[in-house]
């Protein structure tokens, strides 16, 4: 069934869009990533103009994150206090990121920087996670294995402004989560994504939060970051296509619910291996696009404003 999208000005198959929304929503519920790094390239691929794809993708991420967070709230796996601290850092980071983005646009190299940072960060995070979770899986499968000590003391624990994060079972300084928030917000603004795929590993490995809490908390702060992005795109570029968003959202919220339930049945290590593989796959795809000679060297875009 073809449906005409009023802002994108293309006609696409409604079931295809529902399917894309569903798959991305499933991953979002499963891993706590917004899915922005997946939905935007997928929309490009089926012919949605890039500006519309970025803005509408963000809108879909809002919906699937809300759907996922509500499911996590029921299971008490959202650390709201931690989420708020991360969000505070994240918003200041993204303000900084937008400034960097505009500066790079002026130089005219933003596309390259975005693609390179995708490759570098996805590759780095994917490889680290895969290595770590494979080791953890091997350890847990060995009989009589020693349980891993998560609360190792380091210089992180000597910082001031300690707060109790009850849901995560942590008593740490607010400084590390704030810094993580700033870093993720910065990268998210430059790369045009919610930042879940950076946030999730950062919470697990840098802050030492339990995996089951990480997903809900990541989704919680993604809602606000992508909500802000959606509004700004709609307000300044008029590039949010509600018709497209609605189809993606319907697929997405259903997918997110299924993903959340599926996630509850999988082991934390298995989840992390799957997310690592997904992140690496996207990294390889983007890297290959940069290295392999494209079939069509030319591309058409709307004239740049001068």
């Amino acid at each position: 069934m073809q449906i005409y999208l009023p802002i994108a000005e293309v006609s696409l198959d409604a079931f295809l869009l529902l399917g894309i929304g569903g798959v991305v929503g499933l991953l979002s519920g499963l891993f706590g990533v917004g899915g922005g790094f997946l939905i935007t390239p997928l929309l490009f691929f089926i012919g949605v103009p890039p500006v519309v794809a970025v803005a509408t993708g963000a809108n879909q991420v809002v919906a699937s994150s809300i759907s996922g967070v509500l499911a996590h709230l029921k299971r008490r796996t959202v650390d709201i206090r931690m989420g708020l601290v991360l969000l505070a850092g994240g918003l200041s980071g993204s303000a900084l990121g937008i400034w960097v983005f505009n500066h790079l646009s002026r130089i005219g190299q933003i596309d390259l920087v975005v693609q390179l940072s995708y490759v570098v960060f996805l590759g780095l995070i994917g490889a680290l996670m895969l290595q770590e979770s494979l080791r953890a899986l091997r350890r847990s499968s060995r009989p009589g294995a020693v349980s891993v000590k998560r609360h190792h003391h380091s210089w992180l624990h000597n910082l001031p402004f300690k707060i109790k994060f009850r849901t995560s079972g942590l008593y740490i300084s607010v400084v590390p989560p704030l810094l993580v928030g700033v870093l993720v917000g910065l990268l998210a603004a430059i790369m045009g994504v919610g930042g879940g795929f950076i946030m999730v590993p950062a919470m697990i490995y840098l802050l030492g939060m339990p995996t089951k809490v990480v997903i809900g908390t990541s989704l919680f702060q993604i809602i606000f970051v992508t909500g802000f992005t959606t509004f700004m795109h709609a307000y300044t570029n008029q590039s949010v296509d509600l018709m497209l968003a609605l189809l993606l959202i319907i697929g997405g919220v259903v997918g997110a619910q299924i993903g959340t339930r599926l996630g509850a049945r999988l082991k934390a290590e298995q989840l992390r291996i799957l997310l690592a593989l997904l992140v690496l796959a996207v990294c390889v795809k983007i890297g290959a696009d940069l290295l392999i000679r494209p079939g069509e060297l030319y591309s058409i875009s709307e004239a740049a404003q001068r």
């Binding site: 919906a63 809300i66 709609a234 259903v254 392999i292 591309s299 058409i300 004239a303």
Partner: protein
Amino acid sequence: MIRRLALIAVFLLPAGIAGGTEEVVAGLSQSSIAITANFDGSDLLIYGAVKREDRIPRDSELDVIITVEGPSAPIMVRRKSRKFGIWVNTAAVDVDHAPSFYAVATTRPLNDILSQIEDLRRKVSVPQLIRSVGAPPDIQDSPSFTDALIRIREENGLYSLHEGAVELEEDTLFRTDIDLPANLVEGEYRTRIFLVRDKKVVAANEALIDVRKVGLERWLFDLAHKLPAAYGVLALFLAGLAGWLASTAFRLLRNG
């Protein structure tokens, strides 16, 4: 239009073309196209007849060329090249006039029925329609950019040439079908009909088709542009509502 025809007539009469003047009387199956939510392209039937005072001239063959042209917008064509081992956009050329859609239908191969000078004057074939502002000084091969533009749009079905697609009967009645794709841009589409003899245009006719979004499509588009803040809030509200509905529905489904 009438004035143009009159002008042509004035030009042609002194030239003394045998058989007197010929005029085009044309019709369109649709004078406007409404883009609705389930719009997936449209078939445009263009038909008409040749009106003449005298009998059909036999000393030259009559051919018909029909064009449909979508609204134009300035665009930028970029080219990638390899730099430090990776493929990046390194060159760009501005094209300040390129139709978003262009279809040409003819009775016979275009080169056999229209001279280059007439093509240039009437801007019938695609390359004549595209106007480039001139490339930056560091780009030597700017024609390859316009060639690429035509190639990409031909692949997307936006530019097309259908030779032999116009049916001409008894040198008087003609008709053709033009396929309008689903990814139409809003605006005025110009259709032109040329009568051709001896590789020269002997009569021409022009009409406009209005392509507009209607209903929900129109409403959303207008809201997005006139009340962007409200539109943004609506987008977020719908996202929140959908997220909440799905979560509630699944909970009921599990419990019920």
